[in-house]
C-alpha cells in the first residue's frame, strides 16, 4: 500500500513504488534529487540550459531504467553515476577541458557569456559576513570551474555531497587510487587559486 506522503520513506522503498508505475513515486525521486544533480552538472558545465538538459537526460535515463536498479546500492550513487557519465560525455563531445570563469563555453553571445559567468548568493549572515561569504563562495565556484572536469566531479562529490572515496570511485568509474589522486590534486589547485582569499 503506497503511503500518502513519502517524507519518511527510504529511497529504496520509493523506487519500489516507482517500479510499480506510480507517478507520485517518480515525482518524489525527482524532488529529492533534482537540486543535487542539477547543481553537480551545473558546476561541471557552467551553463544553465545545458545543465538543465543534461539533468533531464539523467533523470529520464534513470527512471526509464528503474527496473534495473539494484537495492544493494544507494539510489543516489546510481543517479550521480549516470549524471557524471552524461556530463563527461557532453564535455568530451564539446572538447571542453576547462571552463572559463567569464562564462560558459556554450555561450554564443557576450550577453549569454555574462549570464553564465559565475555568481553566487548566500544568506543568513550579517551584511559583512554575507559579503565575505558571497565573495569566497563566488571565488570557490570560479576555482572549481578552473579544475579539470574529472577533478571537479570528484571534489564536489567528496566535499559537497559527502561521499566516501569508495563511493566516488564507483560513481566516476575510476580506480580508488586515481580518485584519491584527483581529489588531492584538486585540493592543491583550489588552495593555489584561493590562496589570497584565506
Amino acid at each position: 500500500m503506497p503511503p500518502k506522503s513519502y517524507t519518511d520513506v527510504s529511497d529504496q522503498q520509493v523506487v519500489v513504488f516507482a517500479q510499480e508505475g506510480r507517478e507520485d513515486a517518480y515525482r518524489e525521486l525527482i524532488k529529492r534529487y533534482e537540486r543535487p544533480v542539477f547543481s553537480l552538472i551545473y558546476r561541471m558545465v557552467r551553463d544553465n540550459e545545458t545543465a538543465e538538459d543534461l539533468a533531464q537526460e539523467t533523470f529520464i535515463k534513470v527512471l526509464n531504467n528503474i527496473d534495473r536498479y539494484r537495492p544493494e546500492f544507494k539510489f543516489s550513487s546510481w543517479l550521480f553515476k549516470i549524471a557524471n557519465n552524461i556530463t563527461i560525455d557532453h564535455l568530451r563531445r564539446r572538447h571542453v577541458d576547462t571552463i572559463s570563469i567569464e562564462g560558459s563555453p556554450d555561450a554564443v553571445t557576450a550577453e549569454r557569456a555574462r549570464a553564465t559567468a559565475v555568481t553566487i548568493t548566500s544568506g543568513g549572515e550579517s551584511p559583512l559576513e554575507e559579503l565575505e561569504s558571497r565573495e569566497l563562495g563566488a571565488e570557490i565556484e570560479k576555482a572549481i570551474a578552473k579544475l579539470r572536469p574529472e577533478y571537479r566531479a570528484c571534489i564536489i562529490l567528496r566535499h559537497v555531497e559527502d561521499y566516501s572515496y569508495d563511493e566516488i570511485a564507483e560513481i566516476v568509474k575510476l580506480p580508488l587510487g586515481t580518485v584519491k589522486t584527483y581529489i588531492h590534486r584538486a585540493r592543491q589547485e583550489l588552495r593555489e587559486y584561493l590562496g589570497d582569499l584565506r
Binding site: 538543465e52 533531464q56 531504467n65 560525455d89 548566500s122 561569504s133 565556484e141 584565506r198
Partner: protein, 172 residues
C-alpha cells in the same frame, strides 16, 4: 560529515565547499522529465524512442540492454541479400567468376559422395561430359567465391557500422 583527511590549510575551503548552495532547475523540470517516462505514457510505447547504446548502469543495475528492433531480422536479411548480390555481381563482372557454376559446383562438392556417382551417371546422360568437366573445374572458383562473400559481408558490415558510429558521434 566526512572525516578530516586533508591539511589544516584546506579546512576553510572544505567548510566553504560544504556551504555551497544547491542550485535549482526550472519549475517545470519534473513535468518535463515525467512527460518522457515511457512507463507512465504507455501509448507512446508503440513508437519507442531508441535508447542510447552507451547506457552505463553497472552500479544501480545491470548493463542496460538496448531493446531489439522489430525490423532487425528483416533488415539484416535484406542487407545480406543485397550484399551478396552486389559481391556476386562484382565477382562475375571483374573476376569472371560464374555464380551459377560456383553454386552448382558447391552443391556437387557438398554432396559429393551421394551425388558423385549419381551425377556422373545422370550428368553423362543429360549434360554430357563437357558440361560435367566444366562444373568440376568451377569447384575452386566456388571456394574462392564463398571466401570472398564471407570476407566481403563481414568487412562491409563492419565498415558500415564504423562509419555510422563515427557519423553519429560527429552529429552529436
Amino acid at each position: 560529515m566526512i572525516e578530516h583527511d586533508f591539511p589544516e590549510d584546506f579546512v576553510p575551503i572544505a567548510a566553504e565547499l560544504q556551504r555551497l548552495p544547491y542550485l535549482s532547475p526550472s519549475r517545470d523540470f519534473a513535468d518535463n522529465v515525467i512527460a518522457r517516462i515511457d512507463r507512465l505514457h504507455p501509448a507512446r510505447d508503440a513508437y519507442p524512442v531508441v535508447a542510447s547504446r552507451h547506457l552505463e548502469l553497472h552500479q544501480g543495475g545491470r548493463q542496460a540492454v538496448t531493446p531489439r528492433r522489430r525490423m532487425g531480422v528483416v533488415r539484416g536479411t535484406a542487407r545480406a541479400v543485397v550484399g551478396v548480390g552486389l559481391i556476386a555481381a562484382a565477382a562475375f563482372m571483374f573476376f569472371e567468376v560464374d555464380l551459377l557454376t560456383a553454386i552448382l559446383s558447391a552443391g556437387v562438392t557438398q554432396y559429393a559422395f551421394v551425388l558423385g556417382s549419381l551425377g556422373a551417371q545422370v550428368g553423362a546422360m543429360v549434360l554430357g561430359p563437357e558440361t560435367l568437366a566444366y562444373l568440376q573445374a568451377g569447384a575452386v572458383e566456388a571456394v574462392l567465391l564463398y571466401l570472398t562473400l564471407a570476407v566481403g559481408l563481414f568487412g562491409g558490415y563492419a565498415a558500415i557500422r564504423t562509419a555510422a558510429h563515427i557519423a553519429q558521434r560527429k552529429a552529436a
